[in-house]
Each structure stands twice: as C-alpha cells, then as structure tokens.
Point group: C2
Chain length 290, copies 2
C-alpha cells in the first residue's frame, strides 16, 4: 500500500458525492483522517455510522486550519456561504475543490468570497450519476473509471492543480481539464439540454387529459428517453439557472434543428429525413460512454 498522500480531508456535504469521495480515498489508503460538516445532524450521524467520515466537525476554524484538502460537496447555492466561513481560517497549505455541476458560477462565487486566496481553489466536476442521494448512497467505487473535469484558474499553481488531480485520481477517476467557460458550454450541450428536453416531453404529456392512456402504451424507448426526467427538480432548477446563458443558446439551436425536422416531414422529404436520421445513427452508434 502506498502511504496516505492526504493527512486530513474536510468534507462539506457528506452525501453521495462527498461520502463517495471519502470512501474512495479511504479504500485507496490515500487519506489518514476525514472530517465531515453538514447542515443536518442526522445526515452527519449516518455518515459516521456508515464509516464515511472519522469525525463530525464542530469547529470550522480548527478543522480547516491544518487540512490538506477541503471538498465542497453541497448544492452549489450553499458554496458561497461555506467559502466565506472557511476563508479566514484557511491554512496556507490547504487546497479546496468542489463537486458542482456548473463551474462559471462557482468560480465567480469563489473569487468573491476567497479574494486573494483564490489560488487555493481548484474547481472540479465529477461526472457521476446522481439519481440517489444521501450518505446511504455513497459508494467507494462511484468515481472508478468516471470522468472528473478540473477547471483550473490562472491563479492556481501547477503544484496545487497536481495535488487536487492526484486526490481525484486516487478515487479512481479519469481526470481531464477544461476552462470553466468550456466546461459550461460542453455540459449545456450534452447534459443540461437533454435533461431539459426530457422534462419538457414528460411535462407536455403530463398536462393532457388522456395522459393515463398515453402512458399505458409507452415502452422501452420512452423509458430510456425520459429516465432523466425523474431527476431532482431543485437540482436541475439550480443547474439551469446557473448555466442559463449557455443553456438558452442550446435550446435555441435545438429548436432550429427541430424546425428543420418538422419542415422535412411537412414536405414529405423522405431523403432529407433519412439523411438526418442516418447521420444521427452513425454518430450515436460510434459513441460509447466512458
């Protein structure tokens, strides 16, 4: 076994993302001590019982001072407050990373709250399924073979980025890097737009008088297409608003593509329909998720 690279990790939010990070580091023998903070005493107790954390923190100042790494694994909306609370106590060797699904907004909040200590924050987005939540959903191998995108800032030193990269790699993740702006554009296209489209379809059917009849004939295609429409409304409200500009552009682009499909069908243009379906099939068939 390699020696623990991290002596002490402090995690804010010990649910699926934070709890799995802790379990993965412990399984890899990559951390000596994990301290958990959170808003719910019951959740923290669960995390302790499940062995996700060694201790429940009760003094942010003391815990953060000598931590090697702080992970923000709360909803993005809570991160500014946490950053404001920890900033005065951050040790000079303490790095911060996060698990937020959007990056430009988190970076803006971090700049505002951390000021001159912004170099210590290395933003991250682990691409791991989040249909379940809470400490009970945490898994030691949640990040195994999954992508984690770092969006380093100009202020981050290469050594700081390398340390955060190593922590996510110790969890089994495949780490890549984008700028925060690139990140938000990419995820607007391949994640946020599909979620919004799936919500839209089910919302459309849900309002109809004959929705029971319709749904009784829906089959496996509908099942898979709409799976993500069962995602958390609060989380997706926040993600949509956080990445509003890129998502609005994606919706507009999609609506224009849908109009082309409508036109081809209206004009009974069999060749055009087949051409569009064929390109989609070719690209989709060649793609495999990591």
């Amino acid at each position: 076994m390699e020696t623990a690279a991290l002596r002490k990790v402090v995690i804010f939010g010990v649910g699926l993302i934070g709890g799995s990070f802790a379990l993965a580091l412990r399984k890899a023998n990559a951390v000596t001590e994990v301290v958990g903070f959170g808003r719910s005493a019951a959740t923290l107790q669960q995390a302790l019982q499940f062995g996700l954390i060694d201790r429940i923190g009760d003094d942010v100042a003391r815990e953060v001072r000598d931590a090697d790494l702080v992970l923000l694994a709360t909803p993005v909306a809570q991160m500014a407050d946490i950053l404001a609370r920890i900033k005065p106590h951050l040790g000079s060797n303490t790095l911060i990373t996060d698990g937020g699904s959007t990056k430009c907004d988190v970076v803006a909040a971090a700049r505002q709250q951390l000021g001159s200590k912004i170099a210590q924050f290395i933003p991250a987005h682990p691409i791991a399924g989040a249909e379940l939540s809470g400490p009970a959903a945490a898994l030691a191998d949640l990040y195994q073979g999954k992508k984690v995108v770092l969006t380093p800032l100009p202020e981050n030193s290469p050594a700081a980025v390398a340390r955060v990269r190593a922590a996510w790699q110790a969890c089994g993740a495949l780490v890549s890097e984008l700028t925060p702006e690139q990140h938000d554009e990419v995820f607007a296209a391949v994640s946020h737009l599909p979620h919004l489209l799936a919500f839209t379809l089910v919302h459309d059917l849900a309002q109809r008088d004959n929705r029971e009849l319709l749904l009784s004939f829906a089959a496996s295609g509908f099942r898979d297409f709409t799976r993500i429409a069962a995602s958390s409304p609060e989380m997706w409200r926040d993600i949509s608003l956080a990445n509003r500009d890129a998502l609005l552009r994606e919706i507009e682009q999609y609506a224009a593509e849908l109009y082309k499909m409508h036109q081809a069908l209206q004009q009974r243009d069999a060749g055009k329909l087949e051409e569009m379906f064929s390109l989609a099939r070719k690209v989709r068939s060649a793609w495999t998720p990591q």
Copy 2:
C-alpha cells in the same frame, strides 16, 4: 398441453417480429405448421435452420388457401403488394394480421387491396423492441408480457377478432384494442416524437466542429436519452411519413412547450422551472413500463 389452435400459419417476413411470432406459437404448442415467405432466400434458409418455420413457401396461392392465419411481418411499405398477391387465394376461413408500427396507413392499403375481403384483416401492432433484426434475433419470449394493440375494423366479426387475439395471447402478449386513429395518435406522442427528438439532438451535435470534445464528456444521461437515435433510419423515415399528420401536431405541441421552458429560463423564473420539472418528475416516477 392444449391442442394446437392453429393448424397452419403463413408468415411473410421471417425476421425479429415474424420469427418470434412463429417461435412463440410453437413453444405454446399453439400451431401445427408454419410456412415462411420472404424476399431473401438466404433469410428464409436461416429461418428454416433456426427452427422458426417448418417450410419455405414457394406457391402463395396454395399456401394461403387453407391457412388459418397469415401474418404480415415485413416493412409496412411492402404490405400492399403482399395483400394484392394473396387476395385472390384467401380461403374464407383465413384471417390476416400484421406487425406494423403505424395503423391508419396499413388499414388504408388493406382496404384498397382487399376490397370486400377487408373483414378478414385484423390489424395489430406488437410493442416489442426492435433494435436487432433478422431471423437470428427472433426469440420465443419476445412478446411475453408485452403489449400488442389490435385496431379492429368495423367490418371484422367479433369471432375473427377473438381468433387473432387468441393467437397473440398464445405468444404471451397482453392484448388491448384501440381504433387505428387512436393508435396512431397515441404512438405519435409516446414513441414517434421521442425518436424524432433523440435523432434531432444527436444530429444537432453531429454537425458541430467540436463534436468529438462534446461527445467525450457525454455520460449516462445522454446515453439513455439518445439510445433510440441509433434506431434504423429507414424504418423511422417510413414511420414518420406514415404517421405524418399526428407527428407534425406532436412536434408543434412540443415546440410550444419548449418555448415555455425557454421563457421561464430567460426570465430567471425559478418557481416556474421547478414547477414544470416537478410535475414531470412526479409523472415519470409514478410510471412504470409494462
């Protein structure tokens, strides 16, 4: 074992749909003899080798004359020709059913080709996955627990409908009934529209310069949402055109819903977004496919 209810079944198209129908009837001991017709000699030979059929037919007139049931399991576009070929030879006790995904167009073609013999045609749509095709994909339990929708015509006698219903039930299917018009509207909403939306998303991304970058970050949500975009372009071109009017209405309705989402996001209306996402989640979570 019950005695075989069907002495002789003739199947046009011995691929996934037709071959599975044959296998299921044989497994249920519900048929004595299955005769296969098709355009490809190689496919027919395969069907014979795999035990889907007892014989390859070579004389439509002779085989159809004393058949209890004829199944049209070819692409919908070929059905009119087959109906024209078999009409002069149809025994008075011979019933016809089909496996087409759209019904108004098949019914119109059948009325035109069968004329006064239209009472012998009981249209059907088995709701069974069709990602694979050909005799090798046929399964004895493809229809087990799956829905089959009959769309009986005013000319069909109750006894004729009952015989076709019994045949599909012998395959393990859950048989229900809709009018052809209802059928096409229901499937425009819960099947044809989702397919077109998935094709549209992948087609949109496929045309972009940075598509490799985008797709490299797509994850399980994208995977499930776009699974149906790998469906057969030819088949979906035909389905889209066959159900054009209902599908155009669905696209227009969807575009209006998407516009509402766009507006809520543009206006940063968090409450409206959460309300729409919540209704979608509630309906989707309560639904389970059969």
